[in-house]
Symmetry: C2
Subunit: 205 residues, 2 copies
């Protein structure tokens, strides 16, 4: 692309470094900003800058937070003995929106992925093992996505905490509510038959 | 969406005001920035701010430019008597990349669109009529997209400059090079038969 303006070229290059945004999309976004009042651009820039420079991670669960301890970890009504292991804040938000979980979280910050160069030392695994070894946790729920990386991470953590003898569980895999059986993949359907639950339990929600 | 951080919520809200970017995409982009070094975010913010605050539009063609007159209008090798009317900088970049046009441009800044509340007074139409009335232009090439809005804009400008008796033309519509006839829409195919060209001319490129 041959730009008539260095300022424009620079802005397009920076925006197109974001994941999933190519040069054409970046140009469209930047031209949109040029058509809007100047305040829009300064609000956007300031919001990004203050987030990047001021945001903290909760000391206890490592979730993104504005305070040293996040609202969930601070909440005295939550049960600190049940901890749900998740990848990042999006999973916390997803589980919180169900209003079905009253324990705390532990945010790993990613999954073990040799291809992307992410090893256990890049994730918040040591601090989790530390919490378990101190006897603070009675049940650990693994809620990572069931991919190769997620399963590897689950297994790695399980091996580290096995000796402490706490309860470990993993969220149920099965056919989504409202889905047709005929379109389900065989692995999911197979697991949902193996891990069938008493019919009375299905009436609870 | 229920965020654990006001800073994060604010950043996601600002990013999701960009066209075609929803809350989920905005969250993905913002979390990506949080994983990158702080410099990435400051480069991005600064690039957007300096573009918005310092960019100019060329006095002559109204294209985005860092200088009072853009590089194309300043170039003495270009023919100022042939002017191509386009919607925005993307069209200028597209035509420039063909290296087939040696005239100047006139950037309207949009198309007449009553639905979006864009009338002739919001576009650079008066300055174009002014240039034509001064006898600066011998041929005007309409290169707006052939949509309802584009055709309306072309016709509006044509009616304004008709009395000055300059040559007006519009870019050729037809089957794209490399395309199969059977997949072409009938309007395009019909126009390409009506506006057929001498076979020798097709050998030029």
């Amino acid at each position: 692309m041959d730009f008539s303006s260095k300022l424009l070229e620079n802005a397009v290059n920076e925006v197109s470094r974001l994941p999933g945004i190519g040069k054409r999309t970046a140009l469209r976004l930047v031209l949109h900003l040029l058509k809007q009042p100047k305040e829009h651009t300064s609000y956007l820039s300031n919001a990004l800058l203050s987030l990047r420079n001021e945001v903290k991670t909760c000391e206890k669960c490592h979730n993104i937070s504005d305070t040293v301890l996040c609202d969930i970890c601070q909440n005295p009504k939550r049960n600190p003995e049940i901890v749900c292991v998740v990848e990042d804040i999006r999973d916390v938000m997803a589980i919180e929106s169900t209003a079905q979980f009253q324990g705390l979280y532990h945010v790993l910050g990613g999954k073990i992925s040799p291809i992307e160069g992410i090893g256990p030392q890049n994730l918040q695994i040591d601090s989790l093992v530390d919490k378990v070894s101190k006897g603070e946790i009675k049940e650990l729920i693994f809620a990572l996505s069931s991919t190769m990386e997620g399963d590897t991470t689950n297994f790695y953590i399980f091996k580290q905490i096995e000796k402490f003898g706490i309860t470990t569980s993993t969220i149920a895999r099965g056919i989504a509510v409202g889905d047709e059986l005929e379109y389900a993949d065989e692995v999911t359907l197979g697991r949902s038959i193996l891990n069938r639950i008493p019919f009375e339990n299905s009436l609870r929600n």
